[in-house]
């Protein structure tokens, strides 16, 4: 028997098309793959409409075989609101970075969550504006260096890291809020499970779901991929504790 016959055959991914442009070790690529896998597993690829953000994942729709719209910076939740209400049979996903969701689009996300819109948010928190070259985001940790806080973020001038799950957890409408991460296999699998749950919530018509994914930006953090995941694991999770904030 040939050895290759012993290797189990995995189905060809239907959604995730691979070969992303992201920097080596970037969490966006891992997350795209997970999202593609979950969508395949749920058999909903043809129903998905994804609103992609402005940020490093501006080309997300090049790698995920969905229908989609390019949202202006921060406006994905507003577009998703309309798309879901007018095409209720579709599965609407917004994929947003922390600049997109927690800076310029803060008002959109709060109000969409507060109205309990029936779509799913994948929120990628990498504590920096990756695409524009590593400026401070509202989620940047205190003391963390960025191109606009070259000596580190000080609360005195720039406030504190914004905790989106905790913030949205003060609202009545959301049904599911969880913070996950990608720093090791165990957590990657937890992220996969969270994505699945968030999509099932939409399929079953339960309500607004958001999965916050603590990710990295080795390029702008000026770290190797390994160092960057250590940073996520040891530093980011201290400020942004992992876990389920809402599940109803």
């Amino acid at each position: 028997m040939r050895v290759s016959a012993l290797i189990p055959k995995y189905p060809e991914p239907e959604t995730y098309m691979g070969h992303t442009h992201y920097c080596p070790g970037c969490g966006h690529a891992t997350l795209h793959k997970l999202l593609g896998e979950v969508v395949d597993e749920l058999g909903i690829r043809k129903r998905v409409i994804m609103i992609e953000p402005v940020g490093c994942s501006v080309l997300a729709l090049k790698y995920l075989k969905f229908d989609g719209i390019q949202g202006p910076h921060g406006r994905a939740p507003a577009i998703a609101t309309a798309v879901k209400r007018l095409r209720p049979e579709s599965i609407v996903i917004t994929y947003q970075g922390d600049g997109d969701l927690a800076a310029i689009g803060t008002n959109e996300i709060i109000h969409a969550a507060n109205r309990g819109e029936l779509f799913t948010v994948v929120f990628v928190n990498n504590a920096v504006y990756g695409m524009t070259g590593g400026q401070m985001a509202p989620t940047t940790l205190l003391g963390q260096k960025s191109t606009t806080t070259p000596t580190g973020r000080f609360a005195e001038f720039c406030g504190y890291p914004l905790r989106v799950c905790e913030l949205l957890n003060t609202l009545d409408a959301p049904v599911y809020l969880e913070r996950v991460s990608l720093f090791d296999v165990e957590h990657i699998l937890k992220t996969r499970a969270a994505l699945k749950k968030a999509l099932l919530n939409q399929i079953e018509g339960r309500g607004f779901s958001l999965v916050e994914v603590l990710s990295n930006c080795p390029t702008n953090w000026k770290m190797t991929p390994e160092e960057s995941w250590e940073f996520v694991k040891n530093e980011m999770t201290k400020v942004f504790p992992l876990g389920v904030f809402r599940d109803k």
Partner: protein, 392 residues
Amino acid sequence: MPKRVGMEVSIGIAEAVKLCDVDVISAYPITPQTHIVEHLSELVANGELDAEFIPVESEHTAISVGAGASATGARVYTATSSQGLALMHEILFIVSSMRLPIVMTVANRALSAPINIWNDHSDIMAERDIGWIQTFAINGQEAYDLTFHAFRVAEDEKVQLPVVVNIDGFTLSHVIEPIELVEKELVDKYLPPRKPILTLHPDNPVTMGPVGIPEVYTEARKQLEVALMDSKEVVVKAWQEFKKIFGREYHPIETYKTKDAELIFVTMGSITETAMLAVDKLREKGEKVGLVYIRLWRPFPHEEFYNAIKKAKILAVLDRAISYGTNSGPVYTEIRSSLFDKKKKPYVQGFVAGLGGRDIPTERFFEMIEIARSAAEKGECPQYIHLDVKED
């Protein structure tokens, strides 16, 4: 001797802003504006510049912070591009109507959709009626010099208006150019500390920009138009003063080889230097062509423009944006309207090219000359021609 160094234009602008002793910088990052603001944040962080650096969550907020800061009497700077400028739209009118001096660099970039980070003038042309003074730089030195000029004019007692300095995204913002740096002492001579006329102060309470009922609204808007039109005198004087102190000369409208020119190209921004090359090549072939470039876009210098072109037979106007639904570009429309009442005027042919970073080589100007000539001969042509479009 002034020092001439090779420097990225964005860094040059940030250094100029530093020499102007700004009090407040408020911005949100957007390509290709980012390097200016990043360098300023470094200067603030390392103590070289004693200013409040406020990294806010959007451009709408950045310019609103600017308005508040200027109202307290501070010297204020911001920079943006494209979608960021568009997001500021609402506040831009408020800043000019409330007569709040702010200086803003716009690294000109195309507007979405489709999303495009490269250069054209769609962003600023959509904001041409905001009541701000607007200048255009053609190279790094000008981008640097116009920054000092902008503060001087904005804060002039007679002006009290915000100023936009336009620099082309990437083709200027991200290139290394020779820049003659100026001495701090001379900047201090050129630009005295801001003396605000109206500021928020409890000893002398004022209300800025309250409700304007129909009985006063007209007058409020008229005062803005009068102030903006009147600012030209100060704009020109500030350039004359600039020449006295720093040696470099600027005018609202600039000319290049126009003396005997029968055909004149009209440009704005960094493409002007390519147009100069094209003019040189055409002149070598014996063509009587020249170039006029608009440095002061708002208030539009009607008189200076007419004087610069009145002897020509044909104008070939290059727009880097479309004025949708008018079958023309904004600069072309402006010029046609400006010349309408003149008895003697050249035939004006409009062109649009170089949208979203599409290159405009010198050959494009050769093409323009052919089209403009034959249109002028026939006296009939579509109002504008969009060059270099793939039709299939």
